[in-house]
Symmetry: C2
Subunit: 297 residues, 2 copies
């Protein structure tokens, strides 16, 4: 990760400093929300924490916090949403790495959860993170008037990770399509469902919990959908150049590198138009959108 | 399952007819709540439905409906809770049967989900049912005044299936203890967490959603806890007599058959004292408590 020295953001933070601070805040809250390491039965809580920490860039929770900030949301609600999003993301990584799925021995340079704790504990640790995330979402602090929004958030996240349009649908399509020919439309469907839907939900739920107007939520939703797809295309490009064993349902395999790169850039440019209405309040979100997508390629 | 001809219940139904009718009602709602069979990606919805239907005795959802009836609850809310409980139960069975867990090739006389659809789809189908259950719970119909109870129900179910006191804790303790000596206290802990907690939650959440008083909820909670443990002891007794390959963390292995049988009977008798306050409204619940536990041994 290249250290960014420009632009200077509010409070005189560079963008990289902003990201680092956000990660610290999120990690502190994740630590607070997960059962302590020595809570019995210890092994499952060790496995859950091993999978969550040190973790990656925390894209989804940072996207939620930054979106919430841009529309004037309440930090307490946003940080719980952020922690829940990261737990859900981690659940999906643990299960994706299992031998029955992608069979990956390493994740972020350390043995994957099942290599470290065995398959059974890894399976259950994934489930534990998913359930803990739902509990956090159910407990989101809310005044009486906002209870409906809590339910709407739960509903949106269930759809974003469910079997018809969400992450599970994407995982299944990926499995079914492995080694088979697929159309450009199917490729976009897989990516949108597998990665895009949760990224979109991260933005939408943050806007919704922050009391943004219906129109603002809609625009931010489109922004999230485009950023989510761009993020996955960029991941495809980075994975392919590392000669990984990923299945061939990727943008570079379908369109070639240069065209994929161009598609990602165009998606981000369109996404940035979606949030022009935020004006200067959208500056950090703009930086973030570029950072998680095209700045990496 | 022995056909019951006595006692005669309200509407001149025998108890077995009552159970059969309840199962029909629940199955109809499960069918309504699950994505249709041909919803893409089809394979996951086939696997989810294969695992849910024809299913077992539907103990947890029937317990929720019968508890709700006893305290005057609203059918629409109860039936959604009931469907969610059965989906959660099915998720746990699919994952328990996986090779990394109990490695069971058969479930209720048919190939287990992973034998029929492969491990990856079985894993994802379990996740899909869990997530769909949460979505149902989030969408529970409720008037403004009752939104808090919806959140309380979600919270209680998360605890009942979570890693510190719930089903996941029980599954982990069971794994860790496999083949090792365990104390009577540990055995009760495993059973209470693995099976008891969700049965207790079925009763508690139904009472809560029906607007039962705090005192009534508390008594019904104790009833549920005792019935849940009795149910598992009876399952242990039935499993052992079938020379199954279950792990040895069972009541018969610890106390012998006769003492285990006596413990189950005493638990149910105590549980029935917990619901004496219901008077004649508790008759069907009393029948049900006996049916799911001691009547089977």
């Amino acid at each position: 990760m290249k250290r960014e020295t420009t632009p200077v953001l509010t409070n005189d933070l560079t963008f990289q400093e902003y990201m680092d601070q956000r990660k610290l805040t999120i990690d502190k809250h994740l630590d607070h929300c997960l059962p302590p390491l020595h809570t019995p039965p210890e092994i499952i809580h060790q496995a859950m924490r091993y999978s969550v920490f040190p973790g990656g860039k925390r894209i989804r929770p940072i996207l939620a916090l930054t979106t919430g900030e841009a529309v004037g949301g309440d930090f307490q609600k946003l940080i719980s949403l952020a922690a829940a999003l990261e737990m859900i993301h981690t659940y999906s990584l643990i299960h994706d790495d299992l031998p029955a799925m992608d069979d990956d021995d390493y994740r972020r340079g350390q043995p994957s959860t099942h290599k470290k704790f065995g398959e059974a504990i890894a399976l259950l640790a994934g489930n534990g993170l998913l359930i803990r995330a739902f509990q956090l979402l159910a407990e989101l602090p809310a005044q009486a008037a906002e209870k409906e929004s809590k339910v709407a958030v739960l509903d949106q996240i269930c759809r974003a990770i469910g079997t018809t349009q969400g992450m599970l649908a994407g995982q299944v399509m990926d499995l079914v399509k492995k080694g088979k020919p697929f159309s450009a439309q199917q490729l976009e469907q897989i990516h949108s469902a597998k990665t895009g839907a949760l990224i979109e939900a991260s933005v939408c739920c943050a806007a919704f919990l922050s009391g943004a107007s219906e129109e603002a939520c809609k625009k931010l939703g489109t922004f999230g959908r485009r950023i989510g797809l761009a993020f996955q295309i960029v991941d495809d490009i980075l994975d392919s150049s590392q000669a990984s064993s990923k299945p061939p349902a990727t943008y570079p395999a379908m369109y070639g590198f240069e065209a994929s790169r161009k598609m990602a850039i165009e998606l981000v440019e369109k996404a940035l138009q979606d949030i022009e209405f935020l004006g200067s309040r959208g500056e950090t979100l703009t930086e973030l959108a570029r950072y998680i997508s095209v700045r990496r390629i």
